[in-house]
Symmetry: C2
Subunit: 463 residues, 2 copies
């Protein structure tokens, strides 16, 4: 078993190796969204593969995709009965514009005080790199020659581009990624004083609604008040998606929703939450939402429906007196465990069919098949093991959060069929996706400590 | 008093003069919307001024505006106590594209059977020209040297361009246009077998609603369900404008509406109405509207609210998961007598203020000050006089219609402060504003007969 003090000392003593890794890898502008940087993304994969080899991983492979490559690395446990963990991260980074807002060049890592500034510093290269220091600390301080779990890393190269090929990659390599737990190393904590662990991410299903009324735009003087107007029908349809308490009206929408337990609500309520700061970040002047829930619960643990866009008829300057022929909307649902995208899609189609009046034709198209929500309950042994590892590293109680958005984690949970735990040390003000992205270097050292303890904890919990 | 048979004979005998006028005037492409035809519109005004002089009008003037000129002509009655009628028409025409759909060139008047094809044939040159034949018939068959009412014509040159300078023109020449009745010579009858007279036109007020939520587009995963969405707020606002019976919900909206009398409803119900033909024309698959009213009543005699357009947020292909910062709509109201645009506008502003939730800012802008509805009751002496004149010409009972749209008639009624009567002989299938516009020549002869009788009837009724 790892020793808290020994690990802390090791990590502190060897922190320069982490800093050297950061300086080298962050200089590679692995922007996946920009075809001009395709070679850089490949260089980034090669650099990481080399780093895995240097760390002693017996198996290291660069896996091509139809887009950018992922890096796979494996280090089996000595005990063939030991559980297997898949660690997920990504080696690509966001674009950097507007470049002029960067105080130092995004691909010239610059340390100021305890912060290091560079694109990818925390999202996600820093959170991949602390695994090397953490694993070295675990091995050196315990005298072992292999980790106590079989470790498999899959570090993709298209996360900042929507992971278009990731699900396919997981399916193609399903056997190589067989595991008992997935550790996602790409998230953050509530704030620097409040270490926490994400336990779930919302899913998504997204559709476009097309309503068609008269086959031509009609003169509203000659026909107004006598034929159905698709823009009005759209307004009724969209307005009817929520009731007065902010709940989504689709029949059965909440049937599968895993309710927050009293314990979860109590722990979530202990997360410091600054409503005015939230409003500032949102640039909004009010909060709203489903009655009976806090803002943090609403954005993490409750399903929602949002109108993402709408259009139809005359939208130019001044006036044009028409009854439009068409009206359209983009509508998305954020889903929580155990909602199924396909069921929500069917309910939405049925709702639209019922909602449109005679004379209006409706077409509903869902994009991309939806993203299933993922949730690992806080009392799951893997979450408890990760909580203990983080507690050792932070020296503080670990609270729990849920995240409102969703990334490739849902694919990991779905395709690999394993519980997902989120171990991350990002801070809310790290400016990911923005100019002057930074990492607070002591956070990375704490991350290294956390994962140094993690494998022993998981080996014990999942044995 | 004019004699029906004598007028009919005179008109028939002299119809060639009308046809010659048509052939000459319709060759001038007086398209007011196209700056390239500005000279043609001026030529058209000059042609018409010459025609008034040739007809014996003692005063003929071309009135310039900031746009295209109008033609004014006056022929005083011998009796200084005789009432005064202002006749309204326009000498500009619609554009002609798509040109390739015309079977004969739009400015080469072509007669096939009883139809004459040309742009402006019925809208509105034909309906201005039959006044010359009608007035000549009245004078010749009665042996008078002046009309029994003081006749003042104002024939504008920008009607097909929205009459942007017409209200100003009327105000500037208010004293020259003083009158007891306005005769609009720019409308039609219900169908060829059902002569009818329009008695009112709906007014209009048109606004744009701008809703502003968060100052930036927000990630719907991170903020969805927790901040007010302006697109959803817009949907609620627009959906709330009508109740379940299709009535507009603005408080006081119907307070000033002059109800249809039983007699009006009975007469209107006798107008042949082909619902399937209406739907074909509308290219719509259903009728709808305010409960308790027929389609003809809904489009002519009842006020309405229509959404003319809406937009906001993401409208491109596929998906973008945002809460939009803004949402917008164009909303117009068709008004009927005695609704006041300013009152409806105030009610709408108050409604929007109440309808938007906390965190959404609303801005409502009304365009152009609105158009007041106009209505001359069927029992008004001027309407009855015009009905008698049309009855003599058509030899059939004259029914009554109302028109859903509105043009410069409202300005005429408002600024000149006189009742408006509509004497017109257009047919629903004359293809005004479309390729192959035509006039049915016998209809113009009937129009000439109607106005031959009209001045005597009005002189008697308004004395």
């Amino acid at each position: 078993m790892t020793d808290t003090d020994a690990v802390r000392r090791y990590v502190a003593d060897h922190r320069q190796s982490l800093y050297d890794d950061l300086d080298a890898w962050l200089r590679i502008p692995s922007i996946s969204a920009d075809p001009a940087h395709a070679d850089d993304v490949r260089r980034s994969a090669d650099w990481l593969a080399g780093r895995f080899r240097a760390a002693g991983f017996p198996t290291v492979e660069v896996w091509p995709t139809e887009g950018q490559p992922a890096v796979f690395a494996e280090w089996p446990a000595d005990d063939p009965a030991a559980p297997t963990a898949v660690v997920y991260g990504h080696h690509d980074v966001q674009p950097v514009d507007p470049l002029e807002l960067w105080e130092t060049p995004p691909f010239e890592p610059t340390v100021r005080g305890e912060e290091l500034f560079a694109r990818g510093a925390i999202d996600d290269k820093g959170q991949v790199l602390y695994h090397f220091l953490g694993l070295a600390a675990a091995l050196e301080t315990t005298g072992r020659t292999a980790p106590p779990v079989t470790l498999r890393f899959v570090v993709e190269g298209e996360e900042e581009f929507g992971s278009p090929n990731f699900a396919r990659l997981l399916r193609d390599h399903r056997d190589r990624l067989d595991c008992d737990v997935v550790v996602v190393s790409d998230t953050g904590i509530h704030d620097r004083e409040t270490p926490s662990m994400c336990t779930g991410m919302r899913g998504l299903t997204y559709c476009q609604i097309d309503l068609h009324g008269p086959d031509v735009d009609l003169h509203s003087g000659m026909f107004g008040g006598a034929v159905p107007n698709p823009a009005t029908a759209l307004a009724h349809l969209l307005a009817g998606l929520h009731d007065d308490s902010g709940r989504v009206t689709l029949p059965g929408f909440y049937d599968r929703v895993v309710a927050l337990t009293d314990r979860e609500r109590e722990l979530m309520a202990r997360l410091p939450f600054d409503e005015s700061g939230f409003l500032r970040t949102a640039a909004s002047r009010a909060t709203t939402g489903e009655a009976g829930f806090t803002t943090l619960e609403r954005i993490g643990a409750r399903p929602t429906c949002e109108v993402n866009g709408l259009w139809g008829g005359y939208t130019g300057p001044g006036q044009k007196t028409i009854i439009p022929t068409d009206a359209h909307a983009k509508v998305s649902f954020r889903l929580v465990a155990d909602q199924e995208p396909a069921e929500v899609e069917a309910a939405m189609r049925a709702y639209v069919d019922r909602a449109v009046p005679p004379g209006i034709d409706a077409h509903v198209e869902f994009f991309g098949g939806g993203v299933r929500p993922c949730l690992t309950p806080i009392d799951h042994p893997a979450v408890q093991a990760a909580t203990r590892a983080m507690h050792k590293a932070f020296g503080k109680e670990i609270l729990y959060t849920r995240e409102g958005g969703s990334g490739p984690e849902a694919d990991l949970a779905d395709i690999l069929g394993a519980p997902v735990v989120f171990v991350g040390v990002g801070l809310p003000d790290d400016r990911i996706h923005a100019p002057n992205e930074r990492v607070v270097l002591p956070m990375l050292l704490t991350g290294a400590e956390a994962v140094a303890h993690l494998w022993d904890e998981l080996a014990g919990a999942l044995a």
